[in-house]
Amino acid sequence: MLNMQWTWFHRLGSPRWFYQKTQRWLPWLSAITAVLLLVGLVWGLAFAPQDAKQGNSFRIIYLHVPASFLALVGYYIMAISGAVGLIWRIKLSFMVMKSAAPIGAALTFVALFTGAVWGKPTWGAYWVWDARITSMLILLFLYLGILALRYTFSVSEASDRASAILGLVGTVNVPIIYKSVDWWQTLHQPATIKLTGAPSMHPDMFAPLLLMIIGFYGFYFLTLMLFTRAEILHRERKASWVRELVSKKRAEV
């Protein structure tokens, strides 16, 4: 019985199994993601009502909020897969962790960039030391730290475990950083700057945002899958199944 329950877990840990399984998922996932993003973008940018105060400039929310969302979720996905790798010594989860780092860093950058672009018409400045912006910046530094650590190690196994440990330390720190930056904000600045919160949004504005968030989730997992597949092929390049795959592809061409 116990064996039955754990076989799926171990099979999931096999890079080959993952590679073959995701082969079938890829078309579906990319189709759903493309539809969601397309509908969400067109709806949000062209058909959603204008904001009473911000006019059309608020529409960047349809990129900004999903990106910031996934940037934060992505950190936890990265840290948890690193932890799984450390605890159960699963090769695949280290590969997922490695793939998640650049994606997360890119999304954090997108969130900061769109925030700055949005900030100019709303607050009159590209950069304001707002609590959420500052936390995002620190999150970007955490991501960059993991990437920097990863590229300095020459042995990939050591690099995997070191990044996983750093990721875990970061996980404990992320809520502390968020809370402390929040507190720092209330100490130093009166609460004059406030983003429009999601719950107070009009349903017509909120629906496309929801679509975009789900679409970004799809996009995230799609890119994560593609990055991981590339990483699998790279690391398992000496395995017989990868060689077979390569020679088959060559024969097709």
Partner: protein
């Protein structure tokens, strides 16, 4: 195996080593003093302006001075093989690591704390903020040592780990910086400075529990890398 599991041995050993190499001890302090001289030269010697900058500047300088010394926490032991001995000893690795971290705080953080009133004087920090500054530095530098040790252990096998260590540890230091300087700032503003100080103490409690674990894991890794 003794009761403290190697905590006391490694604490004493590192303190003794530090005492034998007194020259190394002075370096972070000199750094602290010299950067403090740069601030009035670069900005302005007016007491009011300096007093405004003081809470933040003192904390930034203390942070940098600690970072300067944290790299050598394990590297000497790594090079001369005593780290290997520590790793193969029957004790839990956590306790010797905790001892080394505590020694680092006693050797770096405590002297910085003791010399800080002088910096406060240079920066025309109000007298009411003196005690909060000393307390926040005493607690905060311990936090800096504990968190920094994780980074030092992670970058140990790398040849040029110094800069990387700084990059890894700096974001983790930010909550410490926020609450440390807020303690002084609150005292200057006549607010209750006890609250941010208590948060620092709480953070220290978390760090004492978790940092040795992460450091020990990273050290095992460094041996194999």
């Amino acid at each position: 195996m003794n009761m403290t599991g190697g905590f006391r041995d490694h604490l004493w050993r590192d303190l003794l080593l530090a005492y034998r190499r007194r020259g190394d001890l002075v370096k972070p302090l000199m750094f602290f003093l010299m950067v403090s001289t740069l601030v009035p030269l670069a900005i302005a010697p007016e007491p009011e302006r300096l007093a405004k900058l003081a809470p933040g500047m003192i904390w930034i300088m203390a942070l940098l001075a600690t970072l300067l010394s944290i790299e050598s926490l394990f590297s000497d032991d790594f090079r001369d093989g005593s780290l290997e001995q520590m790793l193969i000893s029957p004790d839990l690795l956590v306790m010797p690591v905790l001892g080394k971290m505590t020694a680092h705080w006693l050797v770096i953080g405590v002297p910085l704390t003791l010399i800080s009133p002088l910096i406060g004087l240079w920066f025309s920090l109000p007298m009411v903020a003196l005690l909060p500054m000393i307390l926040s530095l005493a607690v905060g530098t311990a936090l800096l040592s504990f968190i920094g040790a994780v980074g030092a252990a992670l970058t140990l096998p790398l040849r040029q780990g110094g800069v990387l260590l700084t990059l890894l540890v700096m974001p983790l230091y930010m909550p410490v910086l926020i609450f440390g300087s807020a303690t002084i700032q609150s005292a200057v503003d006549g607010l209750i400075w006890f609250n941010p100080l208590l948060v620092l103490v709480a953070l220290l409690a978390i760090a004492v529990a978790l940092c040795p674990l992460a450091t020990a894991a990273a050290l095992r890794l460094a041996k194999n890398a």
